[in-house]
């Protein structure tokens, strides 16, 4: 792959939790435009923590987080770009906090300044991409686990992001939904990072895989 613009660069990151548990020491990562990357590792090895550092939801004790070519140090820096990195949480119930599917998909665009009409259009387009036409007025609570996951991805796609970041997207999904998920990832045409312990899923959806062991990333 030709070396294109780096979207995310982590340099010499150290991170420990307040209780002293060390998660990374001197971690480095570069993610470039056009890449499809996987982040593998055992449960509890720090995949979610790493994604949270990228999203500016947690701050490292040492090192530099660079997103879209600029160092990001405080909430203000992250606030302006967070919505450009469509983040999909592991538990769809955390991501989908609105009454209906349409409300949830529209939440991001409305925050970013879309009018109600534009937001409605985005909802329609997003649902079409997910092949969930007609799901707009459905109450989130009544969706199946698979549908919730797809809508979660829809809420991220609706932001019109420059990349997607997915945390354990296949957890407790059946094969059919996993296949649809692969299809959507393929269709959306965005670069993405997927954290997953499911190596075969990563093999099918990504070009390169980082493995997290003992607080560092190893390619392969």
């Amino acid at each position: 792959m030709p070396s294109s613009e780096s979207l995310i660069a982590l340099k010499n990151i150290d991170f420990s939790y307040p209780d002293g548990r060390r998660v990374f020491s001197d971690l480095n990562l570069i993610f470039r435009d056009g890449q499809k990357a996987g982040l593998a590792g055992l449960n509890g090895c720090g995949k979610t923590t790493l994604l949270s550092v990228i999203m500016g939801l947690l701050y490292p004790q040492r090192g530099e987080v660079e997103i879209f070519g600029r160092a990001r140090r405080e909430e203000k820096d992250f606030k302006e770009i967070r919505a450009q990195m469509g983040f999909v949480f592991q538990d769809a119930n955390d991501q989908l906090f609105c009454p209906t599917v349409a409300d949830d998909i529209a939440f991001g665009p409305l925050n970013l300044g879309a009018s109600r009409k534009e937001a409605d259009l985005i909802v329609e387009k997003t649902l079409a991409l997910l092949r969930l036409e007609g799901f707009g007025p459905r109450v989130t609570y009544d969706l199946s686990g698979g549908e919730k996951k797809l809508v979660s991805i829809g809420t991220a796609l609706a932001l019109n992001p420059r990349l997607l970041i997915l945390d354990e997207p296949t957890t407790s999904l059946d094969e059919k939904t996993v296949a649809r998920l692969e299809q959507i990832l393929n269709d959306c045409g965005l670069p993405y990072i997927i954290a997953s312990h499911d190596r075969s899923f990563l093999a099918r959806t990504t070009h390169l895989v980082w493995t997290m062991t003992e607080g560092r990333l190893v390619e392969g």
Partner: protein
């Protein structure tokens, strides 16, 4: 305190509510269901206060009749309505235990029950409160049964309720469902390990652990929800969708309400 039996009553209530909300779309529509939720909120508030403050038995009876009409156009099954009313009357029972008697309400004695004297004034007040209580409750059952929580919240926001309050309310309702399921799973796990509720320290401690566990998990969840909101550009606005328009049916419902209100007032002042 409603004397529901212990067990998983609450989760049953919750899923019943959801089933009925889901089914509602398929089930035959009723006039009250189709009405503008803004009108429904105003109507149920005015109607409730009017009846609650009525002092005359005649007016209260007229109100009860009005609530029966509202219940009839709500499209709710009679069985459900009666079940709800039963709970209300459980509270009213407390009044009947003391209020009709002379020790509560001294006055003209009209009958004796053992050593107790029933006074005309006491009996009249208890009857009035019973009729009013049922009339208000029946009206509320009709209106709330024919609306969804989300639709009512969006309408309340449109009517000027503060955004923070409606946001808390909507999020609360959303997570009552999620946390309710979590709670049900934990209780099932307790049951599977032989837990039987009783009046013992062990039993109370088990419930306390359950609640503590749910608290911890839910506070963690709250910070994840907050993160999810920030990831989508949250800046303090909590958008509620819902288009409202005043339709023919709303003119009809509005007129009916005015008619009913006038009816009650007529009995009150004539």
């Amino acid at each position: 305190m409603p004397a529901h039996h212990q067990s998983l009553t609450w989760s049953k209530n919750m899923s019943e509510h959801h089933k009925s909300q889901g089914k509602r779309l398929a089930r035959r529509e009723s006039a009250l269901k189709k009405a503008d939720p803004r009108l429904k909120i105003i109507a149920v508030v005015v109607w409730s206060f009017l009846l609650a403050l009525t002092e005359q038995i005649g007016a209260a009876m007229a109100g009860l009749a009005g609530s029966v009409i509202l219940a009839m156009i709500s499209g709710l099954p009679a069985k459900d309505i009666l079940k709800r009313l039963l709970t209300v009357n459980f509270f009213i029972l407390f009044l009947w235990l003391v209020l009709p008697f002379s020790f509560s309400y001294p006055g003209e004695v009209m009958a004796r029950l053992g050593p107790l004297e029933i006074t005309r004034q006491g009996l009249r007040l208890t009857c009035l409160l019973t009729i009013k209580g049922n009339a208000v409750a029946l009206g509320a059952i009709a209106f709330f049964g024919a609306s969804s929580v989300f639709e009512l919240t969006a309408a309340a926001r449109r009517l000027g309720a503060p955004e923070k309050m409606t946001a808390i309310f909507v999020l609360m309702f959303r997570y009552v469902q999620v946390i309710g399921q979590e709670c049900a799973r934990l209780r099932l796990a307790m049951k599977a390990r032989g837990f039987k509720p009783s009046m013992s320290m062990h039993s109370y401690r088990s419930y306390a652990n359950l609640i503590g566990m749910i608290l911890i998990r839910s506070l963690d969840r709250a910070s994840r929800i907050h993160a999810a909101m920030r990831c989508r550009g949250y800046n303090g606005r909590f958008w509620l969708s819902g288009e409202f328009n005043f339709k023919k049916i709303d003119w009809a419902l509005g007129s009916l309400m005015i008619l009913l209100i006038c009816g009650v007032l007529a009995f009150a002042f004539v």
